[in-house]
């Protein structure tokens, strides 16, 4: 399975759900797939899921998705315990696990998932509902899992094992035309419009 398979499945299931995407190639590939401003791209390593959890808790009426690489998820792995603790039903965490730090250098330096670290098992061990932590290896499995995740209450964690090939590095994934400042402002403006459209109480304190 390739990144493209996973991100196309995400695009098919996601609708207008806001996304927070991890750094590097993953964000560029997401942009190349969706070309939409509903995503906060190039979030710093280790933080996409935490930012997405903040969004999800602040906007319980919106389904929110974190799009993580394995390196970023490993860097911020403690957040899995916080997600489990607060059990935000509107949060989806999608990890594209290629087992390497693919954006860096030759893109071949292995991450810990190539050496036995199991992100799905870490999510379960952190207190997630085991039935909502799904490891997938094919495009079909990914599409099915994402379809459930955007339909049924979560939180969901989908760990998609993807191949990392030189083609994906070339991949046609150009630079995102919005820089992180412009992107964040466009993203926030969109969230505020949704909040206003949802009316008073959209934030739901608890």
């Amino acid at each position: 399975m390739t990144y493209q398979d996973v991100l196309e499945a995400l695009a098919a299931s996601r609708g207008a759900a806001p996304a927070v995407a991890g750094p590097g190639l993953l964000s560029r590939l997401l942009w190349a797939t969706e070309r939409a401003h509903m995503s906060l791209y190039q979030m710093e390593l280790g933080y996409p899921t935490a930012v997405a959890l903040g969004l999800a808790l602040a906007m319980p009426g919106e389904r929110v998705v974190a799009v993580e690489g394995d390196g970023s998820m490993l860097a911020g792995v403690g957040v899995l315990t916080t997600v489990a603790r607060y059990h935000a039903p509107n949060l989806v965490v999608l990890v594209c696990d290629n087992g390497v730090y693919g954006t860096v250098g030759a893109g071949t330096m292995e991450s810990a998932t190539r050496h036995g670290a199991d992100l799905a098992a870490l999510a379960r061990a952190s207190g997630w509902d085991s039935g909502k932590v799904i490891a997938v290896e094919t495009a079909r499995e990914t599409a099915d899992a994402l379809s459930r995740a955007f339909r049924d209450p979560g939180p969901w964690c989908i760990v998609a094992r993807v191949a990392h090939t030189p083609n994906e590095r070339a991949g046609g994934a150009g630079q995102i035309p919005l820089d992180v400042v412009e992107g964040a402002m466009a993203f926030r403006r969109e969230m505020l419009q949704r909040r206003a459209a949802a009316g008073p109480g959209a934030g739901g304190a608890r």
């Binding site: 927070v20 906060l40 979030m43 710093e44 280790g46 933080y47 935490a50 930012v51 997405a52 959890l53 903040g54 969004l55 999800a56 808790l57 602040a58 906007m59 319980p60 911020g76 403690g78 957040v79 315990t81 916080t82 603790r85 607060y86 059990h87 935000a88 039903p89 509902d129 085991s130 039935g131 992180v180 400042v181 992107g183 964040a184 402002m185 993203f187 926030r188 969230m191 505020l192 909040r195 934030g203 739901g204 304190a205 608890r206």
Partner: protein, 193 residues
């Protein structure tokens, strides 16, 4: 038992309370801080329990109009606050000063993309830090804020507390930046340095 797993327990997003709130009373510094935060519009609070600010966290936790979250590390807490701020909430992050040492990168991102939040951090370089094991803690908090050029203030006198919080929130809303207030233990818990 070895190998036994706890069964999954159904939980709601409203669950997961933090530490039980022990109301320190209306005349307390904690109550002053809480009241100032609420009157300024703070409606989202993230914290890691801390010996100086825990009473403020408890009061926020007890307020049904405030969404509270206990994070696993302070930089994760700032990232949560980034998400809340992007969603239009006004977040505060409460932490021990040591936690600021973890927060450089995510605070830099927040600063760059003009994400507003208030940080209340304990322990700093003012007088009154008695214990050697707070040595690194008292150095790193202001150092991080200073290095990033964040608006910051040491609230060295309890009489400043309400005004400092009000002013910090005005700065946050006007300038759309993270603002740090450092609050020594003697301000929050009493006792002269």
């Amino acid at each position: 038992m070895v190998g036994e797993r706890r069964p999954a327990v159904p939980r709601s997003s409203a669950a997961a309370p933090g530490p039980a709130a022990t109301d320190p009373g209306e005349g307390s510094a904690a109550h002053d801080a809480y009241a100032a935060l609420r009157s300024a519009g703070v409606d989202f609070a993230v914290y890691l329990p801390d010996s100086v600010l825990h009473q403020v966290a408890g009061l926020l936790e007890a307020d049904p109009e405030v969404r509270t979250v206990v994070c696993s590390r302070e930089d994760e807490g700032v990232a949560l606050a980034v998400g809340a701020s992007l969603a239009g909430r006004l977040p505060v992050v409460l932490m021990e000063g040591s936690g600021m040492g973890y927060c450089g990168l995510i605070l830099a991102r927040a600063l760059l993309q003009r994400t507003a939040m208030l940080i209340l951090a304990s322990h700093n370089r003012v007088l009154g830090e008695r214990f050697d094991y707070h040595g690194a803690t008292r150095i790193v908090g202001e150092g991080t804020a200073e290095g990033l050029g964040l608006p910051r203030l040491v609230v060295h006198d309890r009489a400043m507390l309400r005004t400092a919080i009000r002013g910090a929130v005005q700065t946050i809303q006007g300038q759309k930046v993270p603002v740090c207030l450092f609050i020594p233990g003697y301000v929050m818990l009493g006792g002269a340095p």
